[in-house]
Homo-oligomer: 349 residues x 2
């Protein structure tokens, strides 16, 4: 089958690989209906050292079950499934607590120990399939818009939702979202669904911030740094934002969050931090009693909850996809997202 | 009157100063019944550069109102009062939200802008008296044990309580408390009052950890660093602690907290951080979805709530005072606490 590999920064290729097979009794094989390129795939695209064997790419997909191992009890051949970006057993302490990203048996996609390959491919072997996959009453030939929205449940929608949930967004909240990528925009949508009254989106790409307004942003701030912080203060009666959802992951976004948050408020991060240390002392977090929370979203915990509004069309998170390409074109999807020509690209094998 | 000033690291003197007077209509003058030395007073005691005029010391006291300004409405001469370690107006956005440490009109004790002097003195001018002070139905000649417990409401008990509340301690919680100083021990008491099932106290001073056990600690871990973390894991079924209350403020205590906390758990800091930057990246906070919270305790928000159990003797937080000295002896109180001969010293003017 065809699958996408990265060989070095900027070097993505679609190559022939052996078809995946059932290796463990708890595995399922899934034929991919749609996969996509993630903002986090752009980190290695910028910095990955050359690797002769390459790395399999992609961790977001929806598809149809093609085979199941002997121990799989909840899935059958032909089921339409949504796959979270992390593999989870569904039974350990952390899975039961809704923190499947810390599952003691699972791991992140393409974890060498799990032996999983990338999802930007024709098919995928899914370990711990009963715990990991979520069935949905969908025809794999459904229209593109619905498939796109279902695909967001694999990562970006659940990640935006996690930011909002961890941030404690509730009816009447004042929320600032840093970042107008797919996760930031879906954090806006999530904050709106949870009842936020004021949602300030910090972003500078007009097409994206327009979609942010459609998702529920009440204000858009294009400025960054001190100027951006000033604007947030102006928009919040001088107090700052009760809740800041940080969907970027670079250090300036962290500093922006510190500047924008109100004393007693919450910074909820879902942008994967590209830094190790940051200010946490008296002047930043401690003095104003600011809470720092967030992490990789246990999207598995949210799929069932978010699915109904996707299926009945109440929300259309799939609007973050502004391009669909064939699997053979996946390298172009990276280029388009890296150059910001595309917000997020769906891949159709 | 007599008041305590620090002139340099290790140089504390009790000197004659003018009696305080009412300066603003919202002021009250309070004759000090008991003050005390705080663990945080030891930071300048170690590091303060020589200052010819000295700095007034002390931010914890109980006493009797001796005079009130013309705008004071809730206090009368003769009232027994408990003073939080921060001045607050009681009416601003933050005071109404129970975050009096961020009051827009108030500030921390001895703030030059407020013109307040230290509480290790015979009397104190209290600005914004209606917002700051809390009346209690107590005779200033009550027994030492009750006065000691009331004095903890000025800072250390409310600070331990804040740690536990911000940490989200609830019935059945597993809690680790780092630090066996007065705040750590009262964080143990607070966690117990909030229903924690397992309370692990990290400390190595037997007399203190014994008091910790009396306050509700179920386990004591004397080891530090990796060995201490190992012990926490052993005591929590390998998972780590759901909630870690950090009552020290030095960087190794932060690292200890990161090592001790369970994925999805909370680190609640009330030890004033003596560092600015610390790990917050994927390996520390983000990957395991750990929440970092806490700050200076708005003890004003907690006094009314904690007072009844102190008055009726249900709890005796004043047991953290193991020594009482006269005001003239205050310099010795610093020496005794610095050498760890004393846990916490009450000062009787």
């Amino acid at each position: 089958m065809k699958a996408t590999f990265m060989y070095a920064a900027g070097d993505v290729r679609v190559i022939d690989v052996p078809d995946p097979i059932i290796e463990q009794p708890s595995d399922a094989l899934v034929r991919v209906t749609r996969a996509c390129v993630c903002g986090s795939d752009l980190h290695p695209y910028h910095s990955m050292p050359a690797t002769p064997d390459g790395s399999p790419m992609g961790h977001e997909f929806i598809g149809v079950v093609e085979a199941v191992g002997s121990a799989v009890t909840t899935l059958s051949v032909g089921d339409f499934v949504i796959s979270p970006f992390a593999v989870s057993c569904g039974t350990c302490e952390y899975c039961r607590a809704g923190l499947q990203t810390s599952c003691v048996r699972g791991g992140f996609w393409s974890d060498p120990q799990l032996g999983t390959a990338g999802a930007q491919a024709e098919a995928v072997r899914v370990p711990l399939a009963d715990g990991t996959l979520v069935k949905a009453p969908v025809d794999a030939n459904a229209d593109d818009a619905l498939l796109a929205s279902l695909l967001t449940l694999s990562d970006v929608y659940g990640t935006g939702w996690h930011a909002a949930v961890r941030g404690g967004v509730t009816a009447g909240s004042t929320v600032t979202v840093i970042g107008d990528g797919a996760v930031g925009l879906l954090a806006v949508l999530s904050a709106r669904q949870l009842g936020a009254e004021q949602i300030i989106l910090m972003g500078r790409h007009r097409a994206r911030t327009d979609l942010g307004r459609e998702f529920g942003a009440t204000d858009v701030v294009a400025e960054r740094g001190d100027e951006g912080i000033e604007q947030i203060r102006d928009l919040t009666g001088g107090l700052g934002s009760q809740i800041v959802l940080e969907a970027v992951g670079h250090r300036p976004a962290y500093d922006q969050a510190i500047g924008a948050v109100r004393p007693g408020g919450v910074i909820s991060r879902v942008g994967v931090p590209q830094y190790d240390e940051a200010p946490v002392g008296f002047a930043s977090l401690f003095g104003p009693n600011v809470t720092l929370t967030g992490g990789p979203a246990p999207v598995r915990a949210y799929i069932e909850q978010l699915l109904p509004a996707v299926l009945d069309g109440t929300v259309a998170p799939g609007k973050v996809f502004d391009r669909t390409m064939s699997l053979a074109e996946t390298p172009k999807a990276y280029t388009a997202m890296d150059s910001r020509e595309a917000l997020k690209v769906a891949v159709r094998p």
